[in-house]
Every structure is written in C-alpha cells, then in structure tokens.
Amino acid sequence: MTDMLPSVEALAARIPDGAKVAVPPDYTPGANALWRAAIRRGVRDLHLVGVPVFGYQGDLLIGAGCVNTAETSAVTLGEHGLAPRFTAAVKAGTIRTMDATCPAVHAGLQAAERGAPFSTMRGLIGSDILARRSDWKVIDNPFGEDDPVVAIPALRPDFAVFHARKADRSGNVWVGVRRECMLMAHAARDTLVTVEKIVDDDLIADETTAAGTIPSLYVTALAEAKNGAWPQAVPGYYGADNDHLAQYAELARTEEGFQRYLAETVLGREAAE
C-alpha cells in the first residue's frame, strides 16, 4: 500500500504548493533531505503546522520563501537561539502566524485522529493566543455550570512529513517513543517519510518493535535517506551537527547570509542526496 520511492526528490514531488504540512519539533528527526529537495523544486505557499513546535526545518523553508503560514506553539533553534528567518518574516509581515499552545495542537490532531469534530481543553481563556485564533471557540461545558471551555476543531493536515530510523519493505515505520509521529500520521490525510534504513524484518510481526511502529496503512510514500535528518540528530545513528547549526543560526541572521547558506547547503547539495 505504501509507495516505496527511489529518492527524496520523488517524495518531495508529492507535496503540492499550498499544502498544509505537519512537521515535528527538532528533538524528533525532521525530513531535512526531503525538505532540501522540496526547496530545490521550488515548493510555495506551505501552511506549516508545528507538532507542537518546529525549528530548523521550518526556519529553512521560511527563509527559502516556501511558507505562507506558520501554525505552531513556537519556533526555536533550541540552544542555537531564535529562529532568524521566522523572526525576520514575522517582522516583515511576509508570513501569517497562527500562534498556538502545545496541547492545543495535540488536541486538534487528536480530534482528527478520532474523526471527531473538535476536542475541548482547559487553559487558554484570557490569553491573547485565544483572542487571535478565530478558528477556536469558547463554549459552555454542558456538564458544568457557568464553565467556559475552549473547543479546538479537528486539525487534519494534508501531509505529515518526518524522518524515522527504520521501515520495513511493507512500509511499516518504527518511531519508538517518538509517538507524536504516529499521531501526525493518524491525523493527516497523507504521510511522507524518510528513513535511515529499510530493513528486511517485518516490524509488525514482532510485538516488541510493533509497539513503536506506524502501520503502513497510514504511510503514503517512503524513501530511504541515509543521514536524511542531518544536521539534526537521529538517536542511535548520529548526533546533531551543532557546528553546522551554529553556523546556520549566524548566517541566517541576514538575508544575504541565508542566501549564501542556501546556495551552499541546499541548492548545491543535490548530487549528495
């Protein structure tokens, strides 16, 4: 059922302009090789959903002009500081932000996962996050008395896109405790995944691996991409390339620096991927 594709270029070709795409935070491997391919292809007008935040991969896409909306609880490069292209784009008014708070993103995805019209959640009332989200509503808790509660509508991305450690030949993808990837895959219409390696074992047949595996039913297309999360970490395979990320954070502080980074690291990298 899962399309096994030969390259990240082939995967990137699946993402049309204007798609609503869910991506993981930087502590979960991002599909950076795929995103570099998408930038080379020139994808435009993405609506990025951070689950519940995003970092390097989103900042890169914003800097490259691929994003029109950032729906997320935060954008951060972690120890490397503020996400410079996101910050610049917000200040320049060139992207729309839909600020959230982490559990609201999960609540929306869980409503989509369940096929429910919305989730309810505590918190948020009296915040400017809520005041600026006209797509969220305050309703009365029918089980309480004078008890307002926030309703978060189902958040169904067109695509969930992430990198994982391994998949089998049927397209089952092991994510271990990085369970936000499973939630994203359940909630999204389509899921595109890159993996460090494709293994011969059936990941579902053994319950020990099955417990951390997204069944291929939810995985639309998949490609092997060794070092596919670089410069982010893939636990058990490689650590984050912190020197590179620090260099990114420095260069991306200016448009010129970012363009140099883009030319060297993304546009000039095609042969390597």
């Binding site: 935040v53 951060t76 917000v90 559990p103």
Partner: protein, 246 residues
C-alpha cells in the same frame, strides 16, 4: 562565601520551593530550574520524580509529545517553570512579541505549553534572569497566559513565585500582586524598585535570599552538576567547570 555564584543561590532557593512535592517537570532550555529539581531530589528524597524535557536520563515519557501536557492535566505534575520576554505585575507572561503581533518590533519563539500549563500546574515558578524595566513591565504586550483568571474559569494552577537575578517575589493570588520576598546577596530593596516596571508590595522587612549551606553546595557542585551536564553541557562547563565530552 564570596565564591558562591548567583546560579548556585538560585538553584538552592528554587529547590526549597519544591520540598514535599511528588513530581516536578522542567521544560527545555532551563538549566537552573533543572538543577534545582535535581537538587531537591538529591537533598531530601521528597521529590521522587523529576522530568527534564530534552534529558535522556530524566525523561521517562513514552506517549509522545502530548504526554507532558496530559500528565499535567491529570494533576500528576506539582511544579513547572515558565519564563517570559515580559512579565507584568499581574503575573501575565508574554512569550510572543513586542508591539502589534502582526508586525511586531520584536518576535520571540512563542508560547510553547504556557497557555495550558500555567492554568493547571499548582506551583508555576516564574524564572527570569534579566531583571530590568524592559522585562518586568506594567502590562505585557501579548498575554501568552494570564497570571489570574475570572472565578468561573477552571484554574487549579498558576504563579507561585517569581525569581530573577536580583530577588525573589512571592505571588499573592487574592490580590493578584507580587510581594517582594527576599533580595539576593549584593542587591538592595531600592535597586529592585529602580529596575522593576510593575508595582508590587514590600513588607517592612525584606530578608536576604539565603545562600546554600556547605552540604547543599557540595551536592550542587557534585552529583547535581554531573547530572545537569548530561542535558546542558555548555551550562555545566561555564558554571561548574565540568569539561564537555568530546
């Protein structure tokens, strides 16, 4: 005692706020609160569980990114730490932007989980190492999460203390105001007034924030420093002189 560093005083003071709790969670990029939670655990055994996001050794969650928030919603997290680019006198916090949010003068990462955790975690400790009129303001430009809520809003949690590089404030929920609780060694009540942009209460007598005793200091510089180095190697090197692994 001149060799005691500010971070060590803060770690000791925060650890005191955590005594007797069952489960303290610490967000990413929070080395001082993380060390304080580890110290509280090391000192007394009264905080049996510390969850540090981003840690390998102190993060037991197995249900993905949502579990921290679910856990808090279940009432299983007793204390958490939040900060703010701005914090105002009603304990509103701003993690988003200065000026019009659509064309801001400054933009910060975003609210993270504050729009939920500030409401449901009983002891939220506000932590801000830059104590100036720029950060501690009369009214925040953007409310990521309010300090107090209307009586009909579900709010089992909220602000407990605010600790800065100059002093410690208690938060008076009923009055929705901060109260100066202690001033760190080397700082003065007058200096706090000059550098704070919001109104707050000052008792007749304001003590100095206690510094850690020798035993506590040994714990901070020994096991706590070693544990925090796993998560925050740069911090551990700068404050405790622990060399980073190659």
């Amino acid at each position: 005692m001149s060799d005691i560093q500010l971070e060590e005083i803060l770690i000791g003071a925060i650890a005191g706020m955590l005594a007797g709790l069952r489960h303290v969670a610490v967000g990413a990029s929070s080395p001082v609160p993380g060390a304080a939670a580890l110290l509280a655990r090391a000192k007394s055994g009264t905080v049996p569980r510390v969850s540090v996001l981003g840690s390998r050794d102190n993060n037991f969650f197995t249900d993905g990114g949502k579990e921290l928030f679910d856990c808090a919603g279940q009432g299983r997290i007793d204390a958490f730490f939040l900060s703010g680019a701005q914090i105002d006198g009603r304990a509103n916090i701003n993690l988003v932007s200065i000026g019009d949010p659509d064309r801001p003068k400054a933009r910060f990462p975003g609210s993270f989980g504050s729009g939920y955790l500030y409401y449901v975690v009983p002891r939220v400790i506000l932590f801000r190492l830059e104590h100036t009129r720029r950060t501690l303001v009369d009214k925040v430009d953007f409310v990521s999460a309010p300090g107090v809520s209307e009586p009909n809003v579900y709010r089992p949690g909220g602000p407990y203390k605010l600790i800065t590089d100059r002093c410690l404030f208690d938060f008076d929920k009923a009055g929705a105001r901060f109260v100066l609780e202690s001033v760190h060694p080397g700082h003065t009540v007058e200096e706090i007034a000059e550098n704070t942009g919001f109104e707050y209460d000052v008792p007749a007598s304001v003590p100095e924030t206690p510094v850690p005793d020798a035993e506590t200091l040994a714990l901070i510089r020994g096991p706590v420093a070693r544990q925090i180095a796993e998560i925050y190697p740069a911090f551990a090197e700068r404050v405790f002189g622990i060399a980073q692994a190659a």
